[in-house]
Symmetry: D2
Subunit: 220 residues, 4 copies
């Protein structure tokens, strides 16, 4: 089973559709049940949708109690918030931290507690903003660098275990992410979520002795 | 005037004492008024203590309304929380994020809003954990990497401005930090807060055309 | 046409075989004609072997004069040399620099001069040693960090061009690389060159708007 | 005794003058005897000049045979070479590698062989180009990233030893470095070598339990 978080739109939704059309069992999560419903509607019976707020540790734990062990987790949940630091709003900064950093901490904590000795691929979708500093994206870079610091440290804690963390760093995609983030952008030459999903899915390779552990996806 | 946050103990308190003995005007902040009082007691009249929770944006704003423009800010506020991810407590993780990442966002936001065009040195005390991943310190690395991503991005937003951000990355010091973090350590060969404070203070050099922008302090 | 350097053994040879069996036109290069011959022998007529020393700028230029424009270049040429710094031999250090850093500079220089405005994928095979420091691998890390600094800078020079640089960072593979590097290792659990080649080939995805720009391959 | 390499001009010469006026015993090295002579002339008897090409391993070894054990080494030797990759000259690229990467390898190798267990501070002057990629500086970044990879790896080999490596990363200074590098620049607002030398010298602090291990110096 493949668990995809943040799958109510964008890359997560695109990945869900592609894995379902590969005939995989897929469970998708998001905070908005009606959006999730739109994603799963029309797809095969092999997709299930769960409404969960991953920023709430208890909801994450309850979710894992209710589903079988995933073979792969693709953590796409996250949100953007942009603009010069001096114009940012404290409440939205708090949401940004919760949606990106806290969700990932809770998710990884549950996964490590439950399945560290099982062959589980945990794919963490970050952003090129996790690898570089950007003017106008200071708090977004902060939470994405934070997620990267978490992932790299948990990797060290998982040394020798069967659970593997895979870091994915996509550049900008043409999704509704931008509208909700408050940033005005011409995204006409950006990758679509479907393009990025296809490349990432194909790049997630492994063999008995090795695996692709990190992937950066950039715009042309 | 020099504003020192997180000055109720450890490196912040040591820096406060040393700047006061250099005859500088110093304002120290912390969350615990009695601890702050212990630090300032016995020092010259040139030190003032303010009880502020920097994780609360409004308190940060109110504080800057009540004090003159600082020539230098040394942001030492922060806390540690350690252990394997699977044993960490969600409430303490939340505190860790608030004490380290959120405080720095609020402080930098106020400083940039008010004084970006003034010659202000803003010294952000991070940790070597902001530069490297560490097993047993996953959430601590997460928040410190987050602060670094913030600082590097805000630097880009401040390009050409007179305000300068200075990053300081100390390794482990023998302070009460460790007791409150839940980590058992023999710190007998660690730097004392006084040693680290002295080195950092001396290393914070600038001339009319340049300045030391980043400093790493390590144990022998 | 796909040009593969350093293809007389290891990852380069494995990639050559796999691209040939995909029915691609492949040109392989190496310094040892007899080794190259062994690789191409028995493969289809679609492979051609050129004996070139990429550390010699003139030979690189002459080679590109004699072949058509490649659609993809996979630069696998390189060698290892390990051990504590104090035991290393100056001549072998010189060879290490020539085989890894100088070859890549010459290759990139010719490619950029000739084909920067053509849709050319230039895949630079580095190593996880380009991303992290390692005791016992100081000069190897030096040359690999050097190649990474080169690649990241040339990417900036190629902004907006059709030529794209792709960084690949494999961990240790079970190849004859280790015997020639002087390092004794049990490589029985390492990836084979064939495993790594297959994963990398499949991960090298692109669409009209985006591409996988960086790939890390690790051992399980 | 303080050994300063690359001291015939720029930062190295400025550091030599300042350490001599602190009454330290100083040995300076460079490749051009007449330039070295100009630096030492007029200074106290406490400075000695040695003409050495550090890119030649044997000359480095011979030099250390002829001088007492240094308490501190400041490695300033190096050269610049700039411009888009496609316009660079293979011979000058070779010189760039030799002057920056090879010199540092040879120097560190001798120091580690001879004095790893002695309290020796080895200060490696790199550049902000060792920390970031820059268009128009691809080969310069390559060699500086290479030096950083070397330094970080040798640090791991020196764990627990008394010899300490200190990394210094200066931004652009107004020195004759630029004229010899072929880059046209208005350096009127750059730090002078004297300003940078003073800041670096003051920042090189240590106590019995700790030391400043890395320093970045930037332009205002």
């Amino acid at each position: 089973m493949i668990l995809i978080t943040g799958a109510s739109s964008g890359l997560g939704a695109a990945l869900a559709k592609q894995y379902v059309s590969d005939n995989e069992n897929v469970i998708i999560t998001g905070r908005d049940p009606s959006k999730l419903c739109k994603v799963s509607k029309g797809l095969s019976a092999k997709i299930e949708a769960l409404s969960v707020d991953l920023a709430d540790a208890e909801q994450v734990s309850t979710m894992f109690d209710s589903i079988p062990r995933p073979d792969m987790v693709v953590h796409c949940a996250g949100s953007g918030y942009f603009g010069p630091l001096e114009l940012q709003n404290p409440n939205q900064i708090r949401n940004l931290i919760d949606n990106n950093l806290l969700t990932t901490i809770h998710l990884l904590q549950e996964l490590v507690q439950r399945y560290r000795d099982k062959p589980t691929q945990v794919v963490i979708i970050m952003s090129t903003a996790a690898q570089t500093a950007k003017a106008g994206e200071s708090t977004y870079c902060a939470v994405k660098w934070g997620v990267k610091g978490l992932v790299e440290s948990v990797r060290l804690e998982l040394k020798g275990e069967k659970m593997k963390l895979i870091g994915v760093y996509p550049g900008g995609m043409a999704t509704e992410f931008w509208q909700t983030s408050g940033k005005q952008l011409d995204t006409s030459s950006f990758m679509s979520a479907e393009e990025a999903a296809k490349m990432i899915k194909n790049a997630l390779q492994s063999t008995s002795n090795g695996y692709i552990s990190d992937i950066v996806v950039n715009r042309m």
